[in-house]
Symmetry: C2
Subunit: 427 residues, 2 copies
């Protein structure tokens, strides 16, 4: 394969003509495929249907401790579900509060609480002139939307192959009192799929924040969401590392079963130091009497323990693998050597991140749409929806079938080629 | 019966001695009864157990519109559950967002959102020097805790037998721009059990708020929670009245099935104008991808429609009636004519509100505790936990059995008598 940038103008024009021909052929097909969001596929959802039989009208509705899950109580979640989520998050049970169906909601609440009530007694952020968050990019659009809503200034930090650029993180966190947080998806990162190295995690734990109310927002959304059985990433335990480093309160860890059982009917949890837990509970008791404990019981009894949950995740992996392979094989076979894009082969998570030539992402997403393939908006992986390079595109392979993914990726590479040629021709 | 205040000092001393004797007898029994919170009884929870069979592994998990309830989507709730909650709240389906398991959480979120983002574009309350809420008293402690947490100044408004003192409400709302809200439990009020009269509702709807972002927080927690079949209260439709009065956006209505199905595993909803709904959804989409739709489907299919729900509520009423009767009969037979307390006989809801002689409530609650009967803290029904008269006590008869309630109320009246005598003796 010859790199596009090494091609002559005439060759590019000829290539463009042939790509436009193919574009018309595809256009005529009138496809409709969605690769925009990390939604589990129908076959994945079917895996958890037996969970719906676990609790029925004949069930003993009491927890191991004898509490009636049908009534008020247990603000921090029922014991057996706290243990399950603690094992999933690799922390102790006492460090966990199990909440409702959405870890995003816990993150929103955590930032919202800090805005209005401060962090463990600090000045409420809404009383400060300026609050800033660091945002490793590309990252998760819904994180950025929370901080944007509250008027928190977001600062881009390049996400490298082993985690955020820690030189930059240290510079900001250790010197600027207005920097109150950083958004992280440390394992199988959304969208690049990388996992933070041990060194990066240790550097996080050893930060010396200028602001006492600085926290790491550690969204471990994909902690057990491997795609392969032979190659899996390991993430160092940030809570332990923070303790060792004398920063026990510096991290909030979030996770959920939205992509383990049902998206929207799972359970979510926050894990953090006992001191943080106490402060959160003091506020949470004003917000809610308790979360849905019957659903917590349903989860705890369905999985029995973390081994049950991990066995379940292997079934998910089997279903996701061919979809990721369909994308990666097509990218490999169609784009290798052309020098018009790069991507990382992830070992878990829900996304493949593609970097086009600068200035091409928006046009590629637009062209895909014309052919009936919906992608996440270009720019969405950056704060304020602004990718300064207009280069990053997030591909979500989980919802369509493998065949559909192959078809959709073919259209994607066609659009990448066409837009790249146009760019090189200066059009 | 002779009123205590008409008794001679000697008679009071003799009475005191005999009450103290009885106190010792009761103390020896070592009872343990809880009348503190409005928790449904075990037999009530059993009524909804069949709901747990409605959704199982063989169920069609799609909504009427074909959406998969197991996956992300439907931010405002699934159509069939929105219709059910709309019928329960006597509004149109389009005016309803169905949320998670807790209406308290929706109220918290609504105030929190107003603090941080303002109301439909108004200045965020956290940017204002002063924000005030009107609090009809006695009222619901958890409402007051929300406004207290956010540093909102609370102003007591006497709750009369037909609703809040509307002269006072109008004076504050129509003249003070800092007054941004009022907490209401308009039907079977917590704790007095009264229902707002049509005139009160109309005066609410016709307020001319000085603040454009003033809202009525209409917690219709007990909208279908009757105790009797023959005598039931009717509440005028506030949303319609507000529309008629040219104040369509002035009210937020809240409700849930926490005391219809399961406390903690029900569904909750907010009903308001379409303009308010739009604004709320714009914020809510940052907070959460969607609420638990499987539980919404479970509720919708279990009840089928509002008639199913109302039939279900009759069964609750049958179980609650003897408990309320046990309290009311005991109060009637033991206290009538003594002039040491007053109470209202409610037709629905979860509470009986008792007013002791001024300065006696704390002591009564304390004495009950000594005999093993736990009541809601005296003062809890007032902002900041401060009952200026130290007079109001909330009795929650729902959780114990009728026999236990009769026993507990006997202890309660004993303590009322003893504390009243001591008060009259100037001790």
């Amino acid at each position: 394969m010859k790199a596009y940038m090494d091609m002559s103008r005439d060759d590019l024009l000829a290539l463009k003509a042939s790509l436009e021909e193919e574009f018309k052929t595809q256009e005529a097909k009138g496809l409709s495929l969605n690769m925009a969001r990390g939604k589990p596929g129908v076959s994945q959802l079917a895996l958890s249907m037996p969970m719906l039989d676990v609790i029925n009208s004949q069930s003993d509705m009491r927890t191991e401790l004898g509490n009636d899950t049908r009534n008020y109580g247990d603000l921090d979640g029922i014991g057996e579900c706290r243990r399950l989520m603690a094992d999933m998050m690799e922390v102790k049970k006492d460090n966990v509060i199990v909440c409702g169906n959405s870890s995003l909601n816990i993150m929103y609440d955590t930032v919202s609480r800090s805005m209005l009530c401060g962090v463990n007694g600090s000045t409420p952020w809404c009383k400060l002139d300026k609050v800033k968050f660091l945002c490793p990019v590309p990252g998760y659009d819904r994180h950025f939307k929370i901080t944007e809503l509250f008027g928190i200034e977001m600062i881009n930090i390049p996400l490298l192959e082993d985690g955020p650029d820690m030189d930059l993180v240290e510079e900001y966190v250790n010197n600027d009192e207005a920097v109150k947080g950083i958004w992280c998806v440390p394992k199988y990162s959304n969208p690049t799929g990388i996992t933070y190295s041990d060194e990066v995690v240790r550097r996080f734990a050893n930060l010396k924040p200028k602001a006492e109310d600085f926290r790491i927002y550690w969204d471990n959304a994909y902690c057990i969401h491997h795609i392969y059985e032979d190659v899996q990433d390991e993430l160092l335990n940030i809570l332990e590392e923070c303790e060792k480093a004398g920063n026990p309160n510096m991290v909030y860890i979030f996770a959920s079963t939205s992509k383990v059982t049902f998206s929207g009917s799972g359970v979510s949890a926050i894990a953090t130091s006992l001191e943080n837990i106490e402060y959160i509970k003091k506020n949470m008791t004003v917000q809610i009497i308790g979360h849905d404990k019957i659903n917590q019981l349903r989860h705890a009894r369905f999985f029995k323990n973390i081994d049950g949950m991990k066995a379940h995740m292997k079934k998910h992996a089997q279903l996701l693998r061919p979809k990721f392979d369909a994308v990666l094989e097509t990218l490999d076979s169609e784009l290798t050597g052309l020098d018009i894009g790069s991507w990382i082969k992830p070992r878990g998570g829900y996304f493949i991140s593609f970097n086009s030539m600068p200035g091409c992402a928006k046009a590629i997403v637009e062209k895909c749409k014309e052919l009936g393939v919906v992608l996440t908006d270009a720019g969405a992986t950056y704060p304020y929806g602004k990718d300064p390079e207009d280069s990053n595109i997030r591909i979500a392979p989980s919802f369509p079938t493998p065949e559909e993914m192959r078809e959709a990726t073919k259209i994607f590479v066609l659009c990448v080629k066409l837009v790249s040629v146009e760019k090189l021709l200066g059009e």
